[in-house]
Amino acid sequence: MDLTPIFLSLKLACITTLILFVIGLPIAWWLSGRDSIPKLFIEAIITMPLVLPPSVLGFYLLLAFSPQNALGKWLQEHFDIRLVFSFEGLILASVIYSLPFMVSPVKSAFIHLPGSIKEASYTMGKSKFETLWYILLPNIKSSLLTAAVLTFAHTLGEFGVVLMIGGNIPGVTKVASIAIYDSVESMQYSNANYYSLILFSITFIIVLAVFVFNRKSAKSPLE
């Protein structure tokens, strides 16, 4: 039994979660501030992957990064980067596709913190960054964990976007969800069952761990 698709899925989920943790936190922090029209516009765009059919997102990413089109051609000519049918392309697509899963819980947690604790820190002479680091982030730990896990699990389970931009190249873009589909297509049900069972187990353990960790710190473990 070839375990490569499982490892590829885990690798993709880990890298995507890490990247989204780094870019998602500042975005969530910024969005949690005072409302403005540009903010609403950007928030709507970030939320789009939640409601958009994954194949639509995958289709446009495929068009955008295709070497036949302007952006894809420019990337290939100037940086030797080819994003379609490559693992790097999968990472980029996953980052876009899972962005709302990282940003929404963290933004919501920032908003629900009482504004006065931030103010208390400022009056103690602490900068915005010190306040974020020592006060705000430690008090939204459970939401950070939830966001990271949702992002990880969502990336692990994505199918449409991955298929559109990555195709089905063994060892490169053939992640577990594609491998399941591929096995069913070729009537290899035992293989499909094998991959499915592993994905099911990994996801269940992760979600259970979140529930155990967050059982005291949040009203609902998926908060």
């Binding site: 009482p114 208390a120 400022y122 002479g125 006060i135």
Partner: protein
């Protein structure tokens, strides 16, 4: 001397309200600020602390300009060296009593003294959720003092304390204020609450 001359429009259920304050407060003295609900007592304290910006006005503290809207001067709250006791305490849920105080000061001896004033010695390692309402309020007062501020702004700071404890803490705070030359403005709903504590009074209408 603290001189304040500000105008701030605030949103209310009935629309907007204009808070207009013109006052001067004595340096190194305790002044109580009273007034009906909605008069803008908390807003005034937050404006002095730099947490809210008024549309128009000027605040000078010992001749240093903290705010002057006509000259676009607005000193950041971090640079005002102000202690603030919030009405909702605003304690940090992730920090113990000692950590709250160490967040503002590295002076261990001073922190020990503050903990003694607040009668919180037995609760040093407790987080806010494991403290009673009165203990939380005392911690909020101590934390505001941790940075050794020159101006202390207190919003209903004794409402959760019993009479005897309140009296004892007030007298110890007063001694500390004198020693550290702290100017204090106390907002209270009940003019009698700060009796014996405040030396001056200002009514916000």
């Amino acid at each position: 001397m603290i001189e304040i001359n500000i105008k701030k429009r605030v949103k209310t259920y009935a629309g907007t309200d204009l808070i207009e304050v013109s006052a001067s407060f004595h340096d190194q003295r305790i002044t109580q600020i009273t007034g009906p609900s909605g008069a803008g007592k908390t807003t005034l304290l937050k404006i002095i602390a730099g947490l809210i910006k008024p549309e128009h006005g000027k605040i000078t503290v010992n001749k240093k300009v903290w705010l002057d809207t006509s000259a676009s001067i607005n000193l950041e709250p971090q640079k005002r060296n102000v202690g603030f006791v919030f009405q909702d305490y605003a304690l940090f849920p992730n920090m113990t009593v000692t950590e709250h105080l160490h967040y503002g000061s590295g002076d261990t001896q001073y922190i020990d003294r503050l903990i003694a004033i607040g009668r919180l010695d037995a609760f040093r390692k407790h987080k806010p959720k494991h403290l009673s309402g009165g203990q939380q309020q005392r911690l909020a007062i101590l934390r505001a003092l941790a940075t050794k501020p020159k101006l202390l702004l207190m919003d209903e700071p004794f409402s959760a304390l019993d009479h005897v404890l309140k009296k004892n803490i007030m007298s110890e705070l007063k001694a500390l204020f004198e020693e550290l030359k702290i100017t204090c403005l106390v907002v209270t709903h009940h003019p009698l609450e700060a009796t014996g504590f405040a030396e001056h009074s200002f009514e916000l209408i």
